[in-house]
């Protein structure tokens, strides 16, 4: 670069820097990697929502980190002993961002809206909604649903303004999103950023926040940054004040930064390796078990994730009661058992360490989808499989392609993937025979499992019954080696202490509006 040019650039930059330095009470958050490119803020029809969604919408109920339920837009609730009626008292004085009132009529409109959408399952057991009075609704159930409160607390249950929703049709959530939350959506540019401004009328904070009134932050820009390392550097240099997810690679560096605080809350995600039970050699349960016991959860947790989060030994996150299975079903690293099982199945070690049977090598396919974390993990998994005699060929697909490939049902064998969910019904999602291909990537179809599935999904009347039923279902899936558990990540986020002060304890299952309500801004 020629010198004069450089000088001009520098002085112009200095000038601009002085002009655009952020005014007080305006902050920038960043979402990265998997949240980038979320196309809409329509909670009813969306298949995925980003972290900013909770700032715009409130839900009837909130769930805390200890899995307990707390009032939000519903002030209280009550169910009949047979589980066939739920009555919700709504909080008075709540208004949408467009000035429309929030009342029983809204709920009567809202629940049927889910019919035919991708999120229909959440309220599928609600037969009809009865308006008792202006602030009281009663759900009449088709069948008892011990999971109703959990569903109502999920991120897809943010309640939109009926007027805006009907007026915008297909474009709702893209050009505008109107809720009752502490922030209003000012502008959304997909893949780039969402600008949120404070809802000054907000006075209906839940008991998960100290502050029940309007937020202290005036304006939040939520930027989308696809590349992890770029996002990390933005936080380090003050371009971004809060990073919703911090890749574990960067944790040591961030912890060394004095002005950055890294917070870890219990995770909602499980990383695992589904095994296609209908593709030889994995039709043999011994080969499946051998693959499962070859995974060294502990060394992955220590070396790849620096001891953050937990090792996984089952399919469910550890905070769920259904995760506490009988130890004999838990799957953890046992290379000797793995080798012995392969010997028994007739796979003998060849000269290059790869096993073979009747002249065929133990060559298998190992897939994953694009994303730094999976790319790293899949290499370690491959090496661990090799140690017991599997030769695994890796292919990395983009997310669209990999799902299309799974649906073909015959192409895949092993994969490294993850899910994020905080309820045991995820086992039904990934292992029910009727969903074979995708999401049942394991193509698991077993009569006993189907029986346990029906019991857990439809025959549970109370929460405790449901826990027992799902635990039995979970244990059976483990005993069939339809997958290998790998890792349970923690939710790690980080913020700049120069600009923000967050409460010491994070309430709720994720970093959502109740925490941001209590956030203080400094300059």
């Amino acid at each position: 670069m020629t010198l004069p040019f450089r000088v001009t650039v520098l002085s112009a930059a200095a000038l601009l820097g002085a002009v655009v330095s952020a005014p007080a009470q305006e902050v920038t958050f960043a979402i990265t990697a998997r949240e980038v490119g979320t196309p809409s803020y329509n909670p009813i029809t969306a298949t995925r929502l980003n972290s900013a969604n909770s700032l715009i919408y409130d839900r009837l109920v909130l769930q805390d980190a200890d899995q307990s339920f707390h009032p939000s837009l519903a002030a209280s609730w009550d169910q009949t002993p047979d589980g066939m009626q739920w009555t919700f008292k709504l909080r008075p004085g709540v208004k949408f961002h467009d000035g429309e009132p929030f009342n029983a009529k809204v709920i009567e409109w809202w629940v049927p809206k889910f019919a035919g959408t991708e999120n229909a399952d959440t309220v599928a057991k609600v037969d009809r909604v009865e308006v008792v009075d202006d602030l009281t609704v009663r759900f009449h159930m088709k069948a008892p649903d011990p999971n109703l409160l959990f569903n109502l607390a999920s991120s897809f249950m943010g309640i939109p303004s009926p007027k805006a929703y009907e007026a915008l049709g297909d474009k709702y959530g893209v050009t505008a999103a109107v809720g009752t939350g502490p922030f209003k959506m000012e502008k959304f540019t997909v893949g780039q950023q969402t600008v949120l401004v404070r809802n000054d009328d907000f006075t209906w904070g839940s008991d998960l926040s100290v502050n029940r009134g309007p937020a202290k932050i005036k304006k939040i820009t939520v930027r989308e940054i696809p590349e992890d390392s770029t996002a990390f550097l933005e936080l380090q240099t003050g371009g971004v004040d809060l990073l919703y997810t911090v890749p574990v690679d960067f944790m040591p560096r961030l912890k060394a930064e004095k002005s950055v605080k890294v917070m870890t809350i219990p995770g909602t995600e499980i990383v695992y390796m589904p095994i296609n039970t209908q593709s030889a050699p994995f039709t043999d349960i011994k080969v499946r078990a051998a693959a499962a016991y070859a995974i060294d959860q502990k060394s992955i947790w220590q070396s790849l994730y620096g001891g953050v989060g937990n090792t996984a030994n089952g399919f469910l996150i550890s905070s769920l009661q259904e995760a506490k299975v009988d130890p004999k079903f838990a799957i953890s690293y046992d290379p000797e058992r793995s080798k012995k099982l392969l010997d028994e199945a007739g796979w003998k070690v060849g000269p290059d360490g790869i096993r073979a049977k009747d002249g065929a090598r133990l060559q298998v396919k190992l897939w994953t989808s694009n994303g730094t974390e999976f790319k790293r993990l899949v290499e370690v998994v491959q090496s661990q499989l090799k140690a017991v005699g599997f030769a695994a060929d890796i292919t990395i697909f983009d997310a669209s392609t990999i799902n299309a490939q799974y649906k073909k049902k015959t192409e895949h064998q092993l994969a490294v993937r993850s899910y994020s969910w905080t309820n045991a019904d995820i086992i039904d999602w990934f292992f029910a025979a009727r969903r074979a291909g995708y999401p049942n990537v394991s193509l698991f179809d077993d009569p006993k499992a189907e029986e346990l599935n029906v019991t857990a999904m439809t025959k549970s009347r109370t929460w405790d019954e449901r826990v027992a039923n799902f635990k039995a279902y979970h244990e059976y899936i483990l005993s069939q080696y339809a997958f290998a558990p790998i890792y349970e990540p923690a939710n790690v986020f980080a913020y700049s202490t120069r600009r923000l002060k967050l409460p010491e304890t994070i309430r709720g299952t994720r970093l959502t509006s109740q925490t941001i309500l209590d956030a203080q801004v400094s300059n």
């Binding site: 820097g17 550097l233 049942n440």
Partner: protein, 308 residues
């Protein structure tokens, strides 16, 4: 001259048709479809069909193509399936960012490339020539994602001079421009240097020397004009590079632009957006080539004669 221009424009029409057909076909060859992104995992086949019908994706490809082409000819590129906005609006929203990055990078690489190339030619064969040209070559040969990250580390993190990423203020443009531009600097410097050296060997220059003109005067008065011709041609060919070639840099710096729009939409199989972007880029390049040729014609009477 005008006749030539009109003829060239008419020749673009079949190119447009062929390009639109290929773009359409290629986009639909990519496995997966936008419906996958609108459905919750494990949705029923009926639901899929219902949505496919809604967006006309259940019709034969030929019909879909004909409908799209018909609309495209009137300037309507359709409505994005996932992003739910007119494709033209999406392109227009991203175009300024691409143009800002592309044109600044072009300006930067032209100014620096021509200066460096000319200086190297002036001192042809000296150590200055060799060191500078080798250095630039090396810089241009580094993969741009790597160079971009390095720039961020040095200028944004260590020195704190520029923002790490984004496009919220104008100084955020500097590092991406340097990253994209350095490839152009090397190319233009090499072309310029070669052109200068070559022109300097031509008879008329020997004549000027014989007439007793100083080397400096010959260089600045006579060589520059002749040597810039190939540079102009190169610039005409670089329109695609301006509009869509910066995909990697946009990704590293989390910048909006046609490249990122294209990549995001390709990932979500948002057909109308991908088709629209590719068609835009392709036609942009065709027009750029045409403009480059015309500019060359305007500067060089020999070319002009050949055209009439």
């Amino acid at each position: 001259m005008l006749g030539y221009f009109v003829r060239r424009l008419i020749m673009l029409l079949p190119v447009f048709l062929a390009m639109s057909a290929i773009v359409f076909l290629i986009v639909h060859l990519v496995p997966g479809d936008p419906i996958d992104h609108m459905l919750q995992i494990g949705a029923s086949a009926e639901r899929r069909q219902e949505l496919a019908a809604k967006f006309g994706l259940d019709r034969p490809l030929v019909v879909q193509y004909a409908l799209w082409l018909k609309a495209a000819l009137t300037g309507d590129l359709g409505e994005a399936i996932i992003l739910k906005q007119p494709v033209v609006d999406l392109i227009l929203a991203n175009l300024p960012y691409s143009l800002a990055l592309g044109l600044s990078a072009l300006l930067f690489s032209t100014v620096v490339g021509v200066s460096v190339g000319a200086a190297a030619a002036y001192f042809a064969g000296s150590w200055f020539d060799r060191v500078v040209m080798a250095g630039i070559l090396m810089g241009s040969m580094l993969p741009s994602f790597w160079l971009g990250l390095l720039m961020i580390l040095i200028f944004a993190v260590e020195l704190g001079l520029f923002p790490v990423s984004g496009a919220r203020s104008w100084d955020a443009l500097v590092l991406p421009v340097l990253t994209v531009g350095i490839g152009g600097v090397a190319l233009i410097a090499r072309v310029t240097r070669a052109a200068f050296v070559e022109v300097a060997q031509q008879d008329f220059v020997t004549l000027l020397h014989a007439k007793g003109l100083t080397r400096r005067r010959i260089f600045f008065r006579h060589l520059v004009r002749h040597a810039l011709m190939p540079v102009v041609t190169i610039l005409g060919l670089k329109v695609g590079w301006i509009l869509g070639g910066a995909v990697t840099v946009e990704y590293v710096f989390a910048r909006p632009g046609l490249g990122s729009l294209l990549i995001t939409s390709l990932g979500q199989r948002d057909y109308p957006v991908v088709q629209g972007c590719l068609l835009m880029l392709g036609m942009g390049v065709m027009l750029g080539t045409l403009v480059g040729d015309l500019a060359q014609a305007a500067m060089d009477p020999r070319v002009r004669d050949r055209m009439s």
